[in-house]
Every structure is written in structure tokens, then in C-alpha cells.
Amino acid sequence: MTITIDLNGNSHEIPSDVGNVQQLLENLNLADRILIVELNKEIVPKDAYDTPIKDRDQIEIIHFVGGG
């Protein structure tokens, strides 16, 4: 079973056991990055990464990188 989210403008399938923002970040291998997460146009604070994720949610994630 999977659910489909809109991730940074692309349709993205994730396992349905990925239930919240924290688990999504782990699924995407982004959990140890410095990042800003937006769920349905609202920024999710770090202490609210247990916010549930549902089918068709719109999610934007921007992580910081060093290079340039």
C-alpha cells in the first residue's frame, strides 16, 4: 500500500506506513539535514514533525547545502 503526495511539485508515492512528517524525512533520507518543511502551505515547526501526512497532501521541503 502506498499513498501519493505532491512533493516539491512532483507526484511522489510513499509507503502507507510513513505516517507523519518525521517518518517522511527518514524515508527520504533527509532526517539529519537542516531543512524547512511546509505542509499544505503551512510551515511545520521542528517540534511538530509528528504531524500526520495524508494522501494528496502538498509538501515542500528545502534543505540547506554548503556548496557554491
Binding site: 511539485g9 512532483n10 521541503i61 528545502i62 540547506f64 556548496g67 557554491g68
Partner: protein
């Protein structure tokens, strides 16, 4: 008046009035690597009045696929990036007053370097120096800082200080990363450099010409097609040590001793001596001529091979030790030569 900027003036949001404002702009470009090269070229072509571009490094073969101001001859001549950038940018537009400075930007010199410019364009390669620039911009009265960063096929931008009530970089970075992805670890392709710099420069042109816009944190991945644009207004922190009502500017207060850094994208350690110890390159070259091999000496630097490593000494009191990421080994090599 020639027609040089006519197509830019025909663009209605700029017009002749906007072009006059661009002409008055005094720009500080922090770093003359990939982003600094791309942004610098766009800004001189656009016709800004003055550019200062600073960098601590020399040009290397591994730079040429993405650092658009440089040529093979610059590598052969072992030119510092700031010197080659000044030459190339002046050749592109001799109306612009371009100054390249070979220097390592530190808490001790950052304010003096930036003071007198209208804003900062980010061409750096690590988060620590971005936070230093962020503090310096705030300390100098809130100069705009057009942040940009990229690795792989991914880049992000965020214009800071262009509108009241917006967060600074420190507000966004609660925890400092122990390690971020760098060009050294995951590589980088030139299209994301140009894309990232283009966003920075577009925001610069909008800012100079007085266009109203809400700054957003934006990212793009050119390989996957992913894009994101987040309004981060709500992340402004009233307790931020850098931009609150009673700032301490923590990144400006670091005290300097012998400093070391492993350079991004390079198997190289940089050693910086305290209190700007200056190397007298001419006399030093004579004194080590018998000790080292492959000695190259130009007005900006002295390069040689010693102890199995290529060394580059800059007049401003720095040495690059190539062929190692081991700071202790690099210090030992330097001590062997300098005493």
C-alpha cells in the same frame, strides 16, 4: 550614450530609470568560485557601477567545468581567483569599477571589506561563512545579503534584508549542521550553478530597481525537476542573536589564532597565521630556492613542492597545502618550511 544597455532598458520593469539605479549600485561579491563567477559576469554585463570580488583560493583544473570566468591559461599561471576575476570582468565591461582582493574573509576583516557597498552577493561554499556574512550585513545597518548555495543538481536561494520583518539566515538555521553536502562529496553540475546565480541576480535587479516582492526561500533540482518556494516570514525569531533588537552578532566575535580549514571541493588544507602575518614573497623565494622544487613565483603568490605536497603561499599570511585533508600533517609541513 551608446546602445549597450538598450535591450535591458526596453524591459519595462527596468527602463531608463532602472538602468540609472543599476549604474549607481556598489556590489560586494563574497567568493569568486562558481556562483561568484556567474553572478559577477551577469552584474558587470548589466552595468552596475562598482564590484568588489574577494576570494582566498587559486584556480585549479577541477574548477574549469563550472567557474565561467576562468581559462586553462589561468590554471597554468596559477592565478588567484580574485585576480583573474578582476581581469575578466573588466574585459567584459570596462565601465564597471572592478576590484579583486585575494583574502581570506574572517571575523577580523569582514566589516572593513564590506563597508561602503550596497549589498552582498553570496558566492561562498560553506554555511559558517554565510552566517558570518549575515552578521556583518546586519551589523553594517542591515545590508541586503543575497544568499545562494548549490551542490549536485540542487540549488537554493534566499534574499535577506530586503524587507522589514523577514527572518535572517540565523533565524532559519537553529542548529548548525556538523556536516553539509559539498561539491567535494557529491559533485556539482554547471547548470545548477547558473540557475542559482540567475535567481540571485534577478533578486538583485529587482531590489536595485525598487520592485516590490516578498523574499522567499526557493530551491530547484534540475535533475529531478523538483522545485519548492516557501514564504518563511513566520520563522523570524524575536530572540535571534543576529537580528533581534539586542543583537550580539555571535559570528563576528570569534577570535583569531592560527586558523585551519579544509577547502570545499579540494584535497587541500588552508593554514592562516594570526595578526595577518605577511609573507615577503621575493626574499622568501630566495631563501627556500635550494630547499623546495618546482618553485613558481608571481606577484600574488609563491608555489612550490615540498615534502611531497604542493604548497601555495599568499602574501596575506596564508598557505594552502595540497594533497591532504589532514590538518595536523599540513601544519607539520608548514612548520618544516617556515620554522
Amino acid at each position: 550614450m551608446n546602445e549597450r544597455y538598450s535591450r535591458q532598458e526596453l524591459f519595462t520593469p527596468i527602463g531608463e530609470g532602472g538602468q540609472a539605479l543599476i549604474r549607481e549600485a556598489s556590489v560586494f561579491i563574497l567568493g569568486a568560485g562558481a556562483l561568484g563567477s556567474a553572478a559577477g559576469e551577469m552584474l558587470v554585463r548589466a552595468g552596475v557601477g562598482r564590484i568588489t570580488i574577494v576570494d582566498r583560493d587559486i584556480i585549479d583544473w577541477t574548477n574549469l567545468h563550472r567557474q565561467q570566468l576562468y581559462t586553462e591559461q589561468d590554471v597554468i599561471d596559477q592565478l588567484p581567483k580574485a585576480v583573474a576575476a578582476e581581469k575578466r570582468l573588466t574585459a567584459i565591461n570596462s565601465d564597471v569599477d572592478v576590484t579583486g582582493i585575494v583574502v581570506d574573509v574572517t571575523p577580523n576583516n569582514v566589516l572593513d571589506l564590506i563597508r561602503g557597498h550596497d549589498f552582498i552577493v553570496d558566492g561562498t561554499d560553506n554555511i559558517e561563512i554565510r552566517l558570518l556574512a549575515n552578521d556583518a550585513a546586519l551589523k553594517l545597518g542591515g545590508l541586503p545579503f543575497f544568499m545562494g548555495a548549490c551542490v549536485g543538481s540542487y540549488g537554493l536561494t534566499f534574499p535577506i534584508g530586503i524587507k522589514e520583518g523577514q527572518p535572517c539566515l540565523h533565524c532559519l538555521l537553529e542548529i548548525l549542521p556538523a556536516q553539509t553536502m559539498t561539491c567535494d562529496t557529491v559533485g556539482v553540475i554547471s547548470p545548477i550553478v547558473v540557475t542559482t546565480a540567475a535567481r540571485q541576480v534577478a533578486d538583485v535587479l529587482k531590489y536595485i530597481t525598487g520592485a516590490e516582492f516578498t523574499p522567499k526561500l526557493e530551491s530547484t533540482d534540475l535533475w529531478t525537476g523538483e522545485r519548492a518556494s516557501i514564504d518563511v516570514s513566520k520563522l523570524k525569531k524575536n530572540s535571534c542573536p543576529s537580528c533581534s533588537a539586542n543583537p550580539t552578532y555571535p559570528f563576528l566575535s570569534a577570535r583569531e589564532s592560527m586558523r585551519t580549514a579544509v577547502l570545499c571541493g579540494r584535497d587541500t588544507v588552508q593554514l592562516s597565521w594570526p595578526e595577518n602575518r605577511k609573507f615577503e614573497l621575493d626574499s622568501f623565494a630566495e631563501s627556500i630556492r635550494g630547499t623546495v622544487s618546482k618553485l613558481v613565483h608571481n606577484p600574488h603568490l609563491l608555489a612550490c613542492e615540498y615534502g611531497g605536497h604542493r604548497l601555495v603561499l599568499f602574501r596575506d599570511g596564508r598557505m594552502l597545502v595540497h594533497g591532504t585533508k589532514d590538518i595536523v600533517a599540513a601544519k607539520k609541513i608548514a612548520a618544516g618550511l617556515l620554522g
